[in-house]
């Protein structure tokens, strides 16, 4: 600790300062610091090291392994970090800021720009974690983050705390975009002839069923507040939208419109639903309030209109899949049905999903559709303003049902490659594809909003 300096001022200077006070006030008001920076080509990934946490109690090691692995995987799959591999990292486990030697981490072979470290202790049935994030290149003022967590000691809570700490690091270094380590993926699992709504963590852990309706359910969509799941289910009256409460753990009532009602979609404020209903045998897009009231028909085109998705940035536009010109194509329009604009120029395009920043559409597209035509169904994203698209998956079976993560850096999708359909995830530039489900038919994934 540095000594505190105190100096006494002579009376003449005190008077001088009194006269200067108004001027100083003005100067203080505009005394923000200046930063000069810039770019000429892209931005490299952030070199980050995640040190193994120091076990500071005898019971900690069992939970520490879970914690360390989860933290490393969360940071590694964030899409913005170039992680220092465990074999390159110094073989130390600093438990506190006093124990870390930043020069050791900043030097080769680790070359870390930032280091996450801390300690984990399990005492009295409680799990206590202290975590820090330090700037390895700035030894004078290294601390960026310091966090403390305390939960009941269990493997699930060790994973939960690792997710939370990873999300804090990603939010801080990723420029304010929250991490997705605590998000979930909802999907349809075919088990025993039925199709039910299931839930898993974003990394494929903790897979478990939500509904037990004994029928066929499709297209689950989580509400923005993470309280409810809207999905289409086959009943006596045909297809209808049903609502599952994650808070109550059961299906709750929802006034679904008459007729086969499919593919619900939430607006990002949670106030509106869009869906397709075929009262007259021709599916059209409708919107309603979140409780099913105030139903309005939006499209009146001849030919099927299905799979609506809102622009989550503005909630004033809807993208959907229409067969008005033959094969299904992606269109966008205002939420009142005006300003229809065709986005794809041919082939077979389905399952649009609007990116969280409102700039992109992800969809499944078979550009060379037809008997004997080459090419398969792949995931594409399109820049809506310029209608320029890019292909994310290549030659890996049939892809469908893309869904954006809330940070806009990931896409979860369904892939059929030989066997049954399974759920995969990838970065939104098509790299780092990982399989989330391993067995059984799993389809129609939907990423939660938070």
């Amino acid at each position: 600790m540095r000594p505190r300096k105190r100096t006494s001022l002579p009376h003449s200077r005190v008077l001088f300062l009194i006269f200067l006070l108004p001027a100083l006030g003005c100067w203080k008001a505009s005394a923000q610091d200046w930063v000069r920076t810039g770019t000429n080509l892209g931005a490299a990934r952030i070199r980050l090291a995640a040190a193994d946490f120091n076990p500071s109690s005898p019971d900690a090691p069992a939970l520490k392994t879970t914690f360390d692995n989860t933290l490393y995987n969360d940071l590694n799959s964030a899409g913005i970090f170039d992680m220092v591999s465990k074999s390159m990292a110094p073989p130390v486990m600093p438990a506190s800021p006093q124990q870390i030697n930043l020069a050791q981490w900043a030097a080769a072979p680790a070359n870390a720009a930032f280091v996450a470290f801390g300690s984990i202790a399990a005492t009295g049935g409680r799990l206590a974690v202290y975590g820090w994030l330090f700037d390895a290149k700035n030894p004078d003022s290294p601390q960026i983050l310091g966090k403390q967590y305390n939960e009941a000691a269990s493997q699930d809570n060790a994973r939960l705390i690792a997710h939370r700490f990873a999300d804090e690091i990603i939010t801080r270094l990723g420029g304010g975009i929250p991490g997705i380590a605590e998000t979930h993926v909802y999907y349809i699992a075919a088990r025993g002839g039925n199709k039910e709504v299931w839930q898993m963590d974003y990394d494929g852990q903790g897979q478990h069923p939500l509904t037990h309706l004994g029928t066929i359910s499709l297209s689950p969509r989580a509400s923005p507040d993470n309280d409810r799941i809207a999905f289409a289910s086959l009943g006596r009256q045909g297809w209808s939208i049903r609502m599952y409460s994650l808070v109550l753990g059961r299906v709750v009532s929802f006034a679904s419109v008459v007729g086969n009602t499919l593919s619900p979609a939430w607006s990002s404020d949670g106030a509106k639903l869009a869906f397709s209903a075929s009262r007259s045998g021709d599916p059209e897009i409708y919107t309603s309030d979140a409780n099913g009231a105030n139903v309005k028909q939006v499209t009146t085109f001849r030919g099927p209109d299905v799979s609506p998705t809102w622009n989550p940035k503005t909630n004033s536009q809807i993208a959907w899949c229409s067969g008005r010109t033959g094969l299904p194509q992606i269109y966008i329009m205002s939420s009142d049905g005006t300003g229809v604009q065709r986005m794809t120029d041919g082939g077979y395009a389905t399952s649009p999903s609007w990116s969280p920043n409102g700039q992109f559409l992800a969809f499944a597209w078979n550009r060379k559709y037809g008997p004997g035509a080459p090419g398969g169904q792949d995931i594409y994203i399109m820049d809506i303003a310029s209608k320029r698209w890019t292909q994310l998956t290549h030659d890996a079976g049939r892809q469908d049902f893309p869904s954006w993560s809330p940070d806009g850096r990931h896409i979860v999708f369904q892939r059929e490659n030989g066997g049954g359909a399974e759920i995969w995830t990838m970065l939104s530039d098509g790299t780092e594809q990982h399989r989330l489900t391993q067995s059984g038919g799993n389809s129609m994934p939907n990423w939660s909003w938070k």
Partner: protein
């Protein structure tokens, strides 16, 4: 014989193949026309259901030059230069033409130019002695407002023993370099090079000025020093405007906002 005569009559009768043939032809034509007509009418009624692959203009077929709008870092920006291929050409290389050896540089002697003779320097007359006035004695003290020193001027003790001492009054860039990196990275990710006119010279630089609020949102975006390319100026402005937030300002920074001077340097058409 009667049987033979009747047989002869039958043989003598003219062949009736013309009429059935004509009828058959007419029937075929009618059936064919009916098929074509049915197909036309069916297509009118059901032609635009799922199943036909009609092509309509309306979208642009061009791949993204860059996925810069994704909130992901770009390590290796893609190139659409068709000449930049790693595959060697299958055409045989041209034989090098034999060139006659150039004559040696000293084959023809070049007469050197003789410099004119320098005039002999005359000694300068001695300068008269100049008397400098003695320096005035400085009796006034140099006090008043000085520029703030770029070092931490005050320190405060922190009750938490494990955390380092908070410093105030220092330079933002040296204390929170990671936040400067965040600003640089986020604007760089949202800067679309395809918005810049390709005729812009490489190295052209525009300076943008903006503030970052405590919540991390950019504001007061303006051009500080424009470049010669209006498209470069606007693309850099748009890059900052696309950023929703840089994340909250560091808690150790006590001011209400941060001023940023950001430059975008065009790397040249790729």
């Amino acid at each position: 014989m009667a049987g033979f005569s009747s047989h002869d009559e039958i043989l003598d009768q003219p062949d009736g193949i013309g009429s059935p043939f004509a009828k058959s032809t007419v029937m075929h034509v009618l059936v064919f026309a009916a098929l074509i007509g049915y197909g036309y009418v069916h297509n009118l009624l059901h032609g635009s259901e799922w199943g036909s692959n009609s092509f309509q203009q309306g979208a642009i077929q061009a791949t993204l030059v860059s996925t810069a709008a994704l909130p992901l870092p770009q390590d290796h920006p893609p190139t659409d230069n068709v000449l930049a291929t790693e595959t060697p050409s299958v055409a045989p290389a041209l034989e090098e033409q034999k060139q006659e050896p150039l004559p040696l540089p000293d084959a023809v002697p070049i007469p050197e130019k003789q410099p004119p003779p320098k005039p002999e320097a005359k000694p300068l007359p001695k300068a008269p002695p100049q008397h400098q006035p003695p320096p005035k004695p400085q009796n006034k003290a140099n006090y008043g407002e000085a520029a703030p020193a770029n070092v931490p001027r005050s320190t405060a003790s922190n009750s938490a023993a494990n955390s380092p001492i908070a410093q105030t009054g220092g330079d933002f860039g040296s204390r929170f370099g990671w936040y400067v990196d965040v600003i640089k990275r986020k604007v760089a990710q949202d800067w679309y090079l395809q918005e810049v006119d390709p005729s812009t010279p490489a190295g052209a630089t525009v300076f943008i000025q903006f503030t970052v609020g405590r919540d991390g949102s950019p504001g007061s975006i303006s051009l500080a020093t424009p470049s010669s390319s209006p498209s470069l100026n606007s693309s850099c402005m748009h890059a900052v405007q696309r950023v929703d937030t840089f994340g909250p300002l560091p808690s150790g920074y006590n001011e209400s906002s941060l001023n940023v001077l950001y430059h975008c340097t065009y790397p040249g058409a790729r």
